[in-house]
C-alpha cells in the first residue's frame, strides 16, 4: 500500500490533463498522502510545541497578567487588579532607570571589548604554530565554566585583602579596592570579557577557517600587505558572522545576571545593579511579584524586535 502511494507520488505529473481518469485518481491519492504527511509532521513537532507552550508561552502570559496585579507573597493566591500601576511605578522609579542606563553602558562596553579581543585572538590563532589544538582548548576553558562560578572566582581574585590580582595591580591603581566604586565597573566588564570572549573567538575563528584560501593567496601574489589582506579579503567574508555574534552578545550582555550577582551582587549598594538584578531583587528579596513581572515584561518587550530580527537572520543561515 505504502509502496503504491509512493510510486503514485513519483509518477504524478502536474501538467497532465485533469480529465484523464487515471490522473484524477492519482491526484486524490496525492492529496491523501499530503494530508497524511502534514499530520505526521505536526505529530513529530508536538512534544516540542507542548513544551514551549507549557514552559515559555504560558509563563510569559501569566507573568504579563501578574504584572497588572498587586501580588506580594502574602496575597499571591488572590492578587488584586491594579491596571497599569506597576508599569507607571517602574517607569517613574529612578532605580529602574538607573539600572537601564547601567545595563546599556555595560552591554556596549562589554561587547566592544569582547569583539576587539575575540577577533584579534582569532586572527592570532589563524596561522600555524606548535600545540595549536591545546591552545584552542585552553583558551576555551573559561567558556566551560558557569558564569556564577567564574564570578565567585573573581571575587577571590579581586578581593581587597586576599586577592592576588588586586595586590599585583595596586601599583598601578593605587588601591586594592578593585570592587570599590572607582574600579568596580571595569572589574565587572573585564570578568565578563574573560568569561565570554571565547564565544566571539570561536565564531570569528570558525569563520576565518572558511575564508577562501585561493583569494588570500592571489592577494599575496599581487603584493598585498598582511593588513590589506585582512582588511579586504578576510574581514568582508567574516563580516556577516561577526554581525550575528555582535547582536547576540549585545542582547545577552544587556540582561547579564550571573556574573554581576556572583561578583558584586549589584553593589556597592545598587551601584552595579543591572536590569536583571533589579528584577531579581524585586521578586525574591522584596517578594513584589507584580512589579518584578512588570519590569521583566518591559525588558522582554525591549529585546523583542532585535531578537526577532536576529532569529530571522539565524534561520536564513540554517536553511
Amino acid at each position: 500500500m505504502q509502496h503504491a502511494r509512493w510510486c503514485a507520488l513519483q509518477a504524478f505529473d502536474p501538467t497532465g490533463t485533469p480529465e484523464s481518469p487515471k490522473n484524477s485518481e492519482v491526484l486524490f491519492e496525492m492529496q491523501d498522502l499530503s494530508r497524511h504527511r502534514r499530520r505526521v509532521s505536526i505529530l513529530l513537532l508536538m512534544p516540542l510545541i507542548l513544551w514551549l507552550l507549557a514552559f515559555s508561552l504560558v509563563p510569559m502570559l501569566y507573568g504579563a497578567w501578574l504584572s497588572l496585579h498587586h501580588a506580594r507573597l502574602a496575597t499571591l493566591h488572590r492578587p488584586s487588579w491594579v491596571g497599569f500601576d506597576n508599569y507607571l511605578l517602574i517607569l517613574e522609579s529612578s532605580g529602574f532607570r538607573y539600572a537601564l542606563r547601567w545595563s546599556l553602558g555595560f552591554a556596549l562596553s562589554s561587547v566592544a571589548v569582547e569583539m576587539l579581543i575575540g577577533v584579534s585572538v582569532a586572527t592570532l590563532y589563524n596561522r600555524r604554530f606548535p600545540a595549536k589544538g591545546l591552545a584552542i582548548t585552553l583558551y576555551m576553558l573559561p567558556l566551560m565554566i558557569s558564569p556564577v562560578l567564574m564570578g565567585t572566582m573573581f571575587r577571590l581574585l579581586f578581593h581587597e585583602a586576599v586577592g592576588p590580582v588586586s595586590y599585583l595591580l595596586s601599583g598601578i591603581t593605587g588601591t586594592t579596592a578593585l570592587l570599590g566604586m572607582r574600579f568596580v565597573f571595569y572589574t565587572l566588564v573585564w570578568a565578563n570579557v574573560v568569561n565570554r570572549t571565547p564565544m566571539v573567538f570561536l565564531n570569528a575563528y570558525s569563520a576565518m577557517q572558511g575564508v577562501n584560501r585561493d583569494t588570500l593567496e592571489a592577494a599575496t601574489v599581487d603584493g598585498c600587505s598582511v593588513w590589506q589582506r585582512w582588511r579586504n579579503v578576510t574581514l568582508p567574508s567574516i563580516f556577516p558572522i561577526l554581525g550575528i555574534t555582535f547582536a547576540e552578545r549585545l542582547l545577552q550582555n544587556f540582561v547579564i545576571f550571573e556574573m554581576v550577582f556572583a561578583l558584586t551582587g549589584g553593589g556597592p549598594g545598587t551601584f552595579t545593579q543591572s536590569v536583571s538584578i533589579f528584577v531579581y531583587r524585586r521578586a525574591f528579596e522584596r517578594s513584589d511579584f507584580g512589579v518584578a513581572n512588570a519590569a521583566s515584561f518591559l525588558i522582554a518587550l525591549m529585546l523583542l524586535i532585535p531578537a526577532l530580527l536576529l532569529v530571522r537572520r539565524m534561520i536564513r543561515g540554517v536553511r
Binding site: 500500500m1 505504502q2 509502496h3 510510486c7 502534514r38 505526521v40 509532521s41 513529530l44 513537532l45 512534544p47 516540542l48 514552559f55 515559555s56 509563563p59 510569559m60 507573568g63 501578574l66 499571591l76 592570532l124 590563532y125 604554530f129 606548535p130 591552545a135 582548548t137 576555551m140 576553558l141 573559561p142 566551560m144 565554566i145 558557569s146 558564569p147 556564577v148 562560578l149 565567585t152 572566582m153 571575587r155 577571590l156 581574585l157 586576599v162 592576588p164 590580582v165 570572549t197 564565544m199 565564531n203 570558525s206 569563520a207 572558511g210 540582561v255 545576571f257 556572583a262 536583571s276 528584577v279 531579581y280 521578586a283 511579584f289 531578537a307 530571522r312 539565524m314 534561520i315 543561515g317
Partner: protein, 281 residues
Amino acid sequence: MINMTKSTRRRIGAGLTALTVLIVILVFLIGIITNIRTSFMTPADISVSPPKWIFEPTMVNYLVAIATGGYNFGVYLYNSLVIALGSVAAALFITVPAAYSIVRYRGLGDFVLGTTLLVRLMPALSFAIPVYVVFSRFNLIDTHLAIILMHTLFISPTALLLLVGFVQELPKELEEAAIVDGATTPQLLFRILIPTIKPGIAAVAILGFILSWNEFIFAVVLSFRRVITAPVGTSFFITSYAVAWGPMAAAITMASIPTMIFIFVAQRTIIQGMTAGAVKG
C-alpha cells in the same frame, strides 16, 4: 638577517605566535589557576599579605567542602548530575522528532524553529519569575523535576539548532528507500534517523549537559534546600561574617571539573555546537 632561509624565518614566526598565544592564555586563565591554587592552600596561607606564591599543598579544603565542614557539597554535585542527565534525556526526546519534521516537512516547523530560537534570546528571568509562582502552587518547588522541566526548555534551542544541522546532512535517498520498502514513520525515526545521526545526538548530550550543569537562574529560583545544584551551592561559603575561601575554591574546582573534562575530550563537537546558529549564517 639576510642569509636567513625562508624556513628558519617561518619557524621563528611560529615560535613568536606561540609565545603571544601563551601570554593571552595566561591572562585569560589567571582566575582559574588562582582558584585551583587556592583550593590547595591553608586558611593561613590564603590570608597572608603580600600573597604567598609558594606554599605547601593540602587537601583539607576538599574534605571540608564535601564532608567535615557541614556544607554537603557532594549532595549539590549529585543534584547537578541528576538534573543535567534528566534534562538532556527530555531535551533529546522533544527535539529529535522536531528536528526531523523541521528539515523534511517545513511548514509549521519553520515557525516552531523560530519560536524556539527566540526563547534562547529572551531573558531567563522573564520565565523564571512566573514559573516560580506557578510551580509553588503545584508544590513543585525544591524538586528535581521542576529544574529538569525548565532546563529542558533552556537547552532545547541549542539542541534543535544542532540536530537540524545533522538531519540536513542526511541523504534523502536513505529515507526514500525505506519509505518505498514500506517503513512507517516510527520505524523511520528509530531505525534510520537515530542510528545515522548518533554523532549529532552525542553532541546534543554533551552541550546540553554543560548548559544544564552551569545554569544558575532557574536552579536558584526553583530550589530551596533539597535540590540545590553545585553553582548555587557555592554561595553558601560566603556568609555575612566571613568567606571560607579555601573550601569555596575547592568547591568551585570540583564543580568545574566535569565541564572542563568535556572540552579536552570532545573539543570539535563542542565548537560545532557552540557556533551553530552563527557560523552557518
